[in-house]
């Protein structure tokens, strides 16, 4: 190889390497977007209503609100219907039937009648024989806020009702410079559950959890929507009548009855309504808090309000229990705040306060001194959503099923049974 050729080769090599490197010096970015959305499956109103009966039991998949009366537990399968569970033996509950109610989120029970929402409709169901329930009445379009996405109202002025959603996926690949935006998903139906009132009544009233949007007080069913408080006269249990609607604010979430008061939880505060006149509740007091989700329960002296942040609740990073003094209903005063992780439903039995603290589990406090809550027990291995504590049995709705604990000895609460989700 002569010297001239060597110089040519080296020069060529250097130029090639430099050009190659220059061409390769760049930042590249490729985006792969996987969008999920849900496609509606429809049935006619007639088909849906004919199917509101005791159908074959189904596995629990997305447990929601809960209500219990006598030996039965009625557990909402979010957006699908209600599981009927024979709880004669809490150690061995039996899932005996499923009532198909598309769009169902809430329920309340008085005597032999169960009230539930079917999207925008209220349905009354005779449950005198839980193994063979019967639809007795439908009040159409009474919950106009209960619509699904894109402005579509599931049961309003339309014979088609959404009974299920099928998950679909769409994948789009693009370079990062392009901005390909797809709006996906669906609008929401609102959270709901059932709140309890064990006050004496001609017919026994089912006890629900603190996440409820339906509650019963004497002969009235009270329901809350995004901004409304609706009143139904249920003196004739199988023939409910809508008697009143009041605007009570915005972002309303829960309702809880105590004596002659309704405690309404909203994302901005707790409202107290006096129901001396059952059909015309009157605002009696208000406690304002930071923007967050806030189930509330109350006793004679205090209201217990859990505030939580999260996707649906927005509003920052507030996760706490507020204890509010109720001596003067017109001017509730915050007594003390206790930090929590992500509190949801709560229930009180005497001096025992049960709090579902999301994935931090179920927490049990002694609240004899509200200024100095004492934790008695934590159950850490569940993601608890709502709880009903009574008669030494705590019914806990969790992400993975329905748990029952015996708290005869609060320091040593024991798992009696669990109905596991079928997911």
């Amino acid at each position: 190889m002569n010297k001239k050729l060597t110089v040519e080769i080296v020069s060529f090599l250097l130029i090639a390497v430099m050009l190659g490197i220059t061409a390769c010096v760049k930042d590249s970015c490729k985006e792969i977007h996987t969008y999920t959305f849900y496609e509606a499956v429809y049935k006619t109103k007639t088909e849906v209503r004919e199917n509101i009966k005791s159908n074959a039991p189904r596995s629990v998949e997305n447990p929601g609100k809960i209500n219990t009366l006598g030996n039965y537990i009625f557990l909402n399968e979010t957006d699908k219907g209600i599981h009927v569970i024979d709880n004669t033996n809490p150690s061995h509950p039996k899932n005996i039937a499923f009532i198909d109610i598309p769009g169902n989120m809430d329920l309340a029970i008085k005597g032999n009648t169960l009230y539930a929402d079917l999207y925008t409709d209220l349905v009354a169901i005779d449950i005198s024989n839980p193994a063979s329930v019967k639809l007795t009445k439908v009040i159409d379009s009474v919950f106009p806020y209960r619509y699904w996405g894109s402005g579509f109202v599931a049961t309003h002025n339309n014979d088609q009702i959404i009974t299920d959603w099928v998950r679909k996926e769409l994948t789009v690949t693009e370079s990062c410079e392009e901005q390909y935006q797809i709006f996906t998903g669906r609008a929401d139906v609102f959270f709901s559950a059932q709140s309890g009132n064990t006050k004496a009544s001609a017919s026994p009233i089912g006890v629900g959890g603190s996440m409820a949007r339906f509650t019963i007080m004497n002969d009235r069913l009270y329901t809350v929507g995004m901004s409304d408080l609706d009143v139904f006269n249920i003196a004739n249990a199988n023939d409910p009548k809508h008697t009143n609607r009041l605007n009570v604010g915005w972002n309303i979430e829960t309702i809880y009855p105590f004596k002659d008061k309704l405690f309404i939880g909203s994302q901005s505060g707790m409202f107290i309504y006096n129901v001396s006149n059952a059909d015309a509740p009157v605002a009696a007091g208000r406690f304002t808090h930071v923007q967050s989700c806030d189930p509330v329960i109350a006793d004679d002296d205090h209201a217990f309000v859990t505030l939580r942040s999260g996707n649906a609740c927005r509003g920052g990073f507030t996760n706490q229990l507020d204890i509010v003094k109720l001596n003067n209903i017109s001017d509730p005063v915050l007594l003390k705040t206790y930090p929590m992780k992500n509190p949801h439903g709560l229930s009180k039995d005497g001096d025992l306060l049960f709090i579902c603290d999301g994935d931090a589990g179920l927490k049990l406090y002694n609240v004899s001194d509200v200024m100095n809550l004492r934790i008695i027990k934590e159950v850490n291995n569940i993601n608890a959503y709502d709880v009903i504590a009574m008669n030494k049995i705590a019914l806990v709705v969790a992400k993975d099923g329905l748990y029952q604990y015996n708290y005869t000895n609060p320091a040593d609460i024991r798992l009696l049974s669990k109905i596991t989700t079928g997911k």
Partner: protein
């Protein structure tokens, strides 16, 4: 042209073949600091390699810290070949996997998770050494480096019934950079 191509292909072997002396195996530690200059930024990098030297070859493994766009920790195989009568010149190639480093994700509405995933890493180039006695050398090199990294963002949109809609955004980044390093080589 064919002859030129063959010469280019076999040039490294030719360089290697120039020294027919067979030496004893030894060890070497190489600590490097340098910069990477890419399309959008210039950032420092750090590397530490250790391995065996045999004849003109060095083979070892190394670990680094690369701060270009996303902090990452490359773990790589390191190969070097010296050339020249005094083995002052060298070419090198590193290849391996790039582990994501500490990442501070930005707050975004409805974001459920934001994860970085690793990817391919390489660094190749050439350089020269300045001997500092028999045991130490200072070397300078320049080359091309590439690191790939993936970012997975999941957004779950608020819903209160059933499974909530979620969108998964995967970003596949590839960063091609010029790399210049100064190294201290310790060993035989």
């Amino acid at each position: 042209m064919k002859k030129t191509t063959l010469v280019l292909l076999f040039l490294p072997l030719g360089l290697f073949a120039q020294n027919k002396k067979v030496s004893k195996p030894g060890w070497r530690m190489i600590t490097s600091t340098g910069i990477v200059a890419g399309e959008s930024d210039t950032k420092p990098v750090f590397q530490l390699s250790g391995g065996i030297v045999y004849d003109r070859h060095f083979a070892g493994i190394g670990i680094g810290y690369d701060t270009y766009q996303f902090n990452s920790i490359p773990l790589f195989a390191d190969w070097r070949m010296s050339f020249g009568k005094k083995q002052i010149g060298f070419i090198y190639a590193n290849g391996g996997y790039n582990f994501p480093g500490k990442y501070k994700d930005e707050n975004e509405f409805d974001k459920a998770s934001d994860l970085l995933k690793g990817g391919f890493y390489m660094d190749a180039g050439m350089g020269y050494r300045i001997p500092l006695g028999n045991f130490n050398r200072l070397s300078f090199s320049a080359g091309y480096s590439r690191k790939n990294i993936r970012q997975l963002k999941t957004f779950v949109y608020p819903c209160l019934t059933g499974d909530c809609p979620e969108n998964i955004h995967e970003y596949k980044y590839g960063f091609g950079r010029i790399i210049a390093k100064m190294s201290w080589e310790l060993g035989y």
